[in-house]
Symmetry: C2
């Protein structure tokens, strides 16, 4: 391993092997000693000297395993919006602050959701299928203006979705843990207790919530049964918020009438999974927020927060580790 040979703080980055080191961290070299690692042994070697951990690989338990050796760590930054996969008990119980990538993916995800809604409304799946068969078949299609969207989750992603859908003429309602009035993006945010009533009115149900103990399995048979047969269910949040088997059964029963899923309980979605070939289902590979340039944008956000840390200022985007999400979700 590389040992620090200056008195600069040590930043250890943990990436998936296929991703390589985070791009664009070069400006940090003047202020920090950066150690890149992407495997178990590399992390075990590096973590003892780490002052800061920059984690871009959330799908492993490597950090949890190496954590007992992390004696100096003062701050953990996760380059994701959801921090469910990084929060293990020893980290949650420690005094070490965790920050996340709040904001980076918001507008890209909002665009993606709007695109999914328009794909359903304008039947682009049907258009592309007919095109493959060289068949000219006119259809009347749906308007989106005046349709009702229910956004589940009032964090920064849910808010960006709400703003964009409103700008294009949809009526938007929001639901989150706590009821509140006079919300700048939603007007009223309804409490989770109102979910069933809200589901019955919605043309589009968009899950943009963090994965927490409150949201795990939140959508099951009872929730789908409340939806209109014409409603479409969109999940760009986290897979385990949805009971997948219940969703498959509900779609087969025709309620909701369609689904677009970017996240799944098991990722990658296995090739034999029935969702791949269900009519009116759109499957994408956990990519809704990943605009071209997102890795560099994440690094720039980390560098900005690093300068705050170095100068003793309060960190941006602190996660409430017990609740499992950032400040925008906490009200």
């Amino acid at each position: 391993m590389n040992s620090p040979n200056t008195d600069k703080p040590v930043v250890v980055t943990l990436s998936a092997p296929e991703d390589g080191p985070p791009p664009g961290l070069e400006p940090l070299n003047a202020y920090a000693h950066i150690v890149h690692t992407s495997d178990r042994q590399g992390l075990l070697d590096a973590i003892a000297d780490a002052d800061v951990l920059l984690v871009t690989d959330f799908r492993t338990s490597l950090l949890q395993e190496a954590w007992p050796r992390a004696k100096k760590v003062q701050w953990v930054h996760a380059t994701s919006a959801g921090v469910d996969a990084i929060l293990f008990p020893a980290l949650t119980e420690s005094a070490v602050p965790v920050t996340n990538a709040r904001g980076i993916f918001d507008n890209a995800i909002a665009e993606y959701v709007l695109g999914l809604i328009l794909s359903f409304a304008k039947d682009f799946m049907g258009t592309f299928a007919l095109q493959r068969e060289r068949r000219w078949r006119h259809r009347d299609t749906e308007r989106i203006q005046g349709r009702r969207a229910l956004v589940v989750g009032a964090g920064s992603i849910g808010r960006a979705i709400a703003r964009l859908l409103k700008a294009t003429g949809l009526e938007v309602a929001g639901v989150a843990r706590h009821h509140r009035e006079d919300d700048p993006d939603f007007g009223t945010v309804h409490a989770t207790e109102a979910l069933h009533d809200l589901l019955a009115d919605a043309d589009y149900v968009v899950v943009a919530a963090p994965l927490t103990e409150s949201t795990r399995g939140m959508f099951g048979a009872g929730q789908f049964a409340c939806m209109k047969p014409t409603a479409r269910f969109i999940n760009i949040g986290r897979g385990p918020i949805v009971q997948t088997d219940a969703l498959v059964a509900a779609l087969r029963d025709g309620r909701p009438g369609g689904a677009a899923l970017d996240v799944f309980e098991q990722e990658p979605l296995p090739p034999e999974h029935p969702l791949w070939q269900m009519p009116q289902v759109i499957v994408s590979a956990h990519m809704a927020g990943d605009f071209i340039g997102w890795r560099a944008a994440l690094s720039a956000q980390f560098i900005d927060n690093f300068q705050r840390w170095r100068q003793g200022q309060a960190l941006n985007n602190l996660v409430d580790k017990r609740r499992g999400y950032g400040p925008a979700h906490q009200e």
Copy 2:
């Protein structure tokens, strides 16, 4: 045929046989004697007594053939935005006013265009193709915020497109026959002379112009050669505005990088046409504006104008027959 047996004015409707009579005209029965026809002989029989013609079938020359027998016609209404197919010389030269369906399709077409733009940006064609093969493959995709759209045509459809694209964060420029400043939807509308310079800057080029002698064949090899390799070309106006063979060649050369076509020089697009299976081309069946309920909306618009006509008021949506488009295009 049905002969008028009252002194009510006679409204003759001409529809395509597959469409049937226009729905929702029942409220007119109190004020008019309505004769529905959908074939040559029916029109020849009915037109002599017609005071008003309501034309929903634009793809035939039936009206032109029957026109010499139309001795009483005081008004022709076409239930389309474009009136190119209804304007034959004897009608253009006559004093009979022609009105169109201005406004009915505007917002639906704008939604459709936004959906096409998002389909390109988020690579939904790629997503649907991978889904058919049950393949999980993450891609980074494009943002639409800050991208430049050039709208060709500053009529009511082009304006609706401009407003919606601006609302979702695109930068929008407009081009029409005459330059003007301080346009409420476009800011500056550029004159056609500026087209080549504008094409070089555009990420999305959207054709929303009427088909006239000025716009026929407007997009050919020279125009496509101005575009960026990453630009996408969208035509929801009229097929003959585009030189189709030149577009096919340009797409093969990689400039523009993609196209979405809802209208064609020949409709239906023949099954053997190469456009059907070109990568990065989206083919749809002249349906961009046809939202569920559009036929009833067209009838309601006609009824409203009929009441104006009956009461001697000025008709809405008068077409400039020599220019071939409605008032919003004329400035």
